[in-house]
């Protein structure tokens, strides 16, 4: 799976979870950049991403992911191995 494809699909997930079609994520996007991305919404986002890509994050990753770039790295690692 290519990075570009992952970002494209992630954009749709983010737009759907946060009900905001103007969201476009890149590797440096963090929860500070998206108003509704707080600790209460974090798991909703994680679960939506898992469903989109048919993979699972472990709890260590869920609690330490710092930006979308790290999220994409994990997705790539799971999907390409």
């Amino acid at each position: 799976m290519k990075k570009e494809e992952i970002y494209e699909r992630l954009n749709n997930v983010f737009r759907d979870v946060f009900d905001d079609d103007s969201i476009t994520v890149n590797e440096n996007t963090t929860s500070n950049d998206i108003e509704d991305w707080d600790s209460l919404e974090h798991i909703n986002l994680v679960v939506a991403v898992e469903q989109e890509f048919g993979m699972k994050f472990n709890m260590g990753e869920v609690t330490t992911m710092k930006n979308v770039g790290e999220m994409v790295d994990i997705i790539m690692e799971r999907k390409n191995n």
Partner: protein, 510 residues
Amino acid sequence: MGLTSFTFLVFVLVTLVGYFIVPKKIKWLVLLVSSLYFLFYDNLTFDIVGYVLIILLVAYIFALLIDKYKNETKKAKILVVLSVLIILGVLIFLKYTNFIGITIKHIGNIFGFSYKFQKVYRNVPIGISYFSLIMISYVVDVYRGLCKPQKNILKCALFMSYFPILTSGPFIRYKDMNELYEPHKFDYDRMCRGLIRIAWGVFKILVISERLAIFVNFVYANYLTYNGFYIALAAIFFLLQLYTNFSGSIDIIMGISKIIGIDLPENFNGPFFSRSVTELWRRWHITLGAWLKDYVFYPLQKSGFIQEIGRFTKKIFGKKISKKIMLYLAMLIMWILIGAWHNGAYTFIIGSGILQFIYIFLEDMLTPIAKKINSKLGIDSETFGYKLYQRIRTFLLFALAMIFFSAPSVGKALDIIRNMFVWNPWILFDNKSLYLCGLDLYDFRVLGLAIIVLFVVDYYKYIGKDVTSWLFKQNIVFRWIIIYSLLFAIIIFGCYGVGYNPANFIYRQF
């Protein structure tokens, strides 16, 4: 050993001198010896040593085993669950036996079977609510691959018992605490910063908290006579007392740790400038919130149980509502646990648990409505006046919940609240009524001034500025005037009372 007692002062001095004069290699051992001395100072009995040893050994051995079996997920999972259950078991056995027993008795009464329960009183190690959860996070972090296990059991023991955090936190994580084992050299600049932080903490406790306690204790003990606005004022004072006591303890602790060379995570960040209860909990007891988020809230939200409920409710109510149901269910469980963590009593489960949940729930529900009303009426929510209204509202809601926190029973708390609804505002202005509750005009003036200083300093913290760094950039004369003012304020205005006996640190019992 109270944090503002003479014994503690001597203890800290001996620890610091010892730490800085011994050779590099054994510096951490000095911290370990001091920490164990502190841990067992008030209570050295076989059972206490036993409980501490069980938690230490379980965390130490299981972490090593989990790391060994990290490639065999099932085995590692069983091990982590088992270790968490044992540590929680000790905590529940020590702190929640009476609560569980009484609850079963009450439920029994409702359903018509009688269950005889006698309260039990056990020796409880100081700081158990902190170090048991800290060790759970250690084992879980090893399981999650976030840190390597500690092979040296004495170093593991130091992490568990590091004395500054035993009285009132903050919660620390093993992966962030490498500094514990590093040999730190004495640093004059660091010492000055640490001492100022300690002095600020002592100021908060002795000048503000202890003084407020006199009024609060008097009114709550005589709430039938001193009702109405006396109780309202006492509720506000209690929240300020709790905050200055708790955050003051944290200041002392962080100052001491800073002098050693170990920076601890911040636990407060200008909580009273929060515009909602939701925001307040991001600024109040921050490390407890972070702990619960990582080890309870997220795993719970992601668990099969909650996700299953989500799938079920999605079919009936649609996506949006089902998301909310999952969120609130996980939140309700977490808030009950936060309340219960404070103490196994319904007053805490209501005051620092369920009521907080209700506030946050209502905020979430009402915010969109308020936004609509504001935009229709053309009210700008970013003006000073509107923000002030939100802040006062948040403060008062929190103060109301803390009546439960301060009361000996739910019935008493409700009684106190009922007696608050008496119209007697003149007691605030008639220039005599307020002085009947243990504080005179002089005390009120000192309090007023001290609380203004507190809010100014907190405001700087709230907007992300470090007051100590600001102070250190100032001209030397001005800097020392401020420092001496703080010290003299503590000496002159500190509440030492007759045969001074510092009130128990409110957070120490947890």
